[in-house]
C-alpha cells in the first residue's frame, strides 16, 4: 500500500537562502573618493 510522505512546508523564501554574513559586493565603478568631491 502507498503512503504519502509528509513534505516539510516550503522554505519561507522561494529564493535560494543567502549564506550567513552575505555582503553584496560594492559596484566595481566609480571607485572611492580619496579626498573630497567637488
Amino acid at each position: 500500500s502507498l503512503t504519502k510522505r509528509v513534505v516539510p512546508a516550503a522554505a519561507q523564501h522561494d529564493k535560494v537562502p543567502r549564506p550567513v554574513g552575505f555582503v553584496p559586493l560594492p559596484p566595481p565603478c566609480p571607485g572611492k573618493i580619496l579626498h573630497f568631491d567637488i
Binding site: P26, P28, C29, G31, H35, F36, I38
Partner: protein, 256 residues
C-alpha cells in the same frame, strides 16, 4: 569548456589604482603649466584584451589640484591637495594606456580642468576669497609690483615672470590681492638688470633655474606688500607635452 572571461576590473582594484597612478604621474610629468594634480577618484576603467599579456586600458579619472607648482621638484606624495575652501580645482582626464607583459605606457590623454563653482564655495564659506581671472588688472598690477620689489632687493639673479598660477581677491575684513606665480632666473644679476633689463633673458634649458613666488598686497585699510620667492635650482625638464591645462579662467580649459 572555454575558461570564463575574467571578471571586469573594479575601479578600486590594485591593478586599476596602479594604472591610474601611472597615468597621473605621466600627466604631471608632461605638463609645464599650473600645478601638480593628485588622483581623487577612478570614475571608470575598461580593459580590452589585445592578446596574451597585452591589454588596452581606458581610464576616466577625477583629479584635484595640489598646492605644488608643476615645476616644483616636490614629489607628488608630499603635495597637499588644495582644500575646498581655497577654491579647489578639479581635473577630469580620459587616459588610454597599454599594458604589455605588466609594463604600462600612456597612448593618449585628454584632460579638462575647472575650478569649483563659486556658489558651492560661498554656500559653505561665505567669506572665502574666490579665484580671480588671471588677466584681472588688479592681479596683474600686484604681480608686477611684487616681482619688481623682489628684484630690487635681491642680490641673486634677476627673475622674469613665467606665468601666474592663481590669484584671489578678498574684500573683507581687508581688501587684499593674493597671487602665486612661477618665475625663471635670467642671465643677469639684479644690478645688471638695472642698467639694461632688455638684455636679461631666461637661462637656456641646460642651466634653467625656475622658482615660485607668493605675493599678498593689502590695499585697505593700509597698503602693504609681502613677497616670497623660492628658486628650485637646476632640474632636468621632461619633454613638453602640455596635457593638463591651467585654470586660467574659472571656467577651465580643455587640452589633450
Amino acid at each position: 569548456v572555454p575558461a570564463a572571461p575574467p571578471a571586469p576590473l573594479g575601479c578600486d582594484d590594485p591593478e586599476s589604482v596602479a594604472a591610474a597612478e601611472f597615468a597621473v604621474n605621466y600627466i604631471n610629468g608632461h605638463s609645464h603649466h599650473g600645478y601638480k594634480f593628485a588622483l581623487n577618484r577612478i570614475k571608470d576603467i575598461r580593459v580590452i584584451p589585445q592578446g596574451p599579456n597585452n591589454d588596452i586600458m581606458f581610464l576616466e579619472l577625477d583629479l584635484l589640484e595640489t598646492t605644488c607648482p608643476i615645476l616644483s621638484p616636490t614629489p607628488l606624495e608630499n603635495c597637499t591637495v588644495r582644500s575646498f575652501a581655497e577654491h579647489a580645482v578639479e581635473g577630469d582626464c580620459d587616459v588610454k594606456l597599454q599594458k604589455v607583459d605588466g609594463t604600462l605606457s600612456v597612448l593618449a590623454s585628454k584632460c579638462h580642468s575647472h575650478a569649483d563653482s563659486r556658489e558651492d564655495i560661498l554656500k559653505v564659506c561665505p567669506d572665502c576669497p574666490l579665484l580671480a581671472i588671471l588677466n584681472n588688472t588688479e592681479v596683474l598690477g600686484v604681480v608686477s609690483a611684487a616681482l619688481n620689489d623682489y628684484n630690487s632687493k635681491t642680490t641673486d639673479s634677476y627673475l622674469r615672470l613665467l606665468e601666474i598660477g592663481r590669484a584671489k581677491i578678498q574684500y573683507h575684513p581687508v581688501h587684499a590681492v593674493v597671487t602665486e606665480f612661477a618665475v625663471g632666473a635670467t642671465n643677469c644679476s639684479a644690478e645688471q638688470a638695472k642698467a639694461n633689463v632688455g638684455a636679461c633673458q631666461l637661462l637656456p634649458e641646460d642651466q634653467s633655474n625656475f622658482g615660485f613666488c607668493t605675493a599678498t598686497m593689502v590695499k585697505r585699510p593700509s597698503q602693504d606688500l609681502q613677497v616670497d620667492c623660492q628658486l628650485y635650482g637646476h632640474q632636468v625638464p621632461a619633454p613638453p607635452i602640455p596635457l593638463l591645462s591651467r585654470v586660467s579662467q574659472p571656467t577651465g580649459q580643455d587640452t589633450s
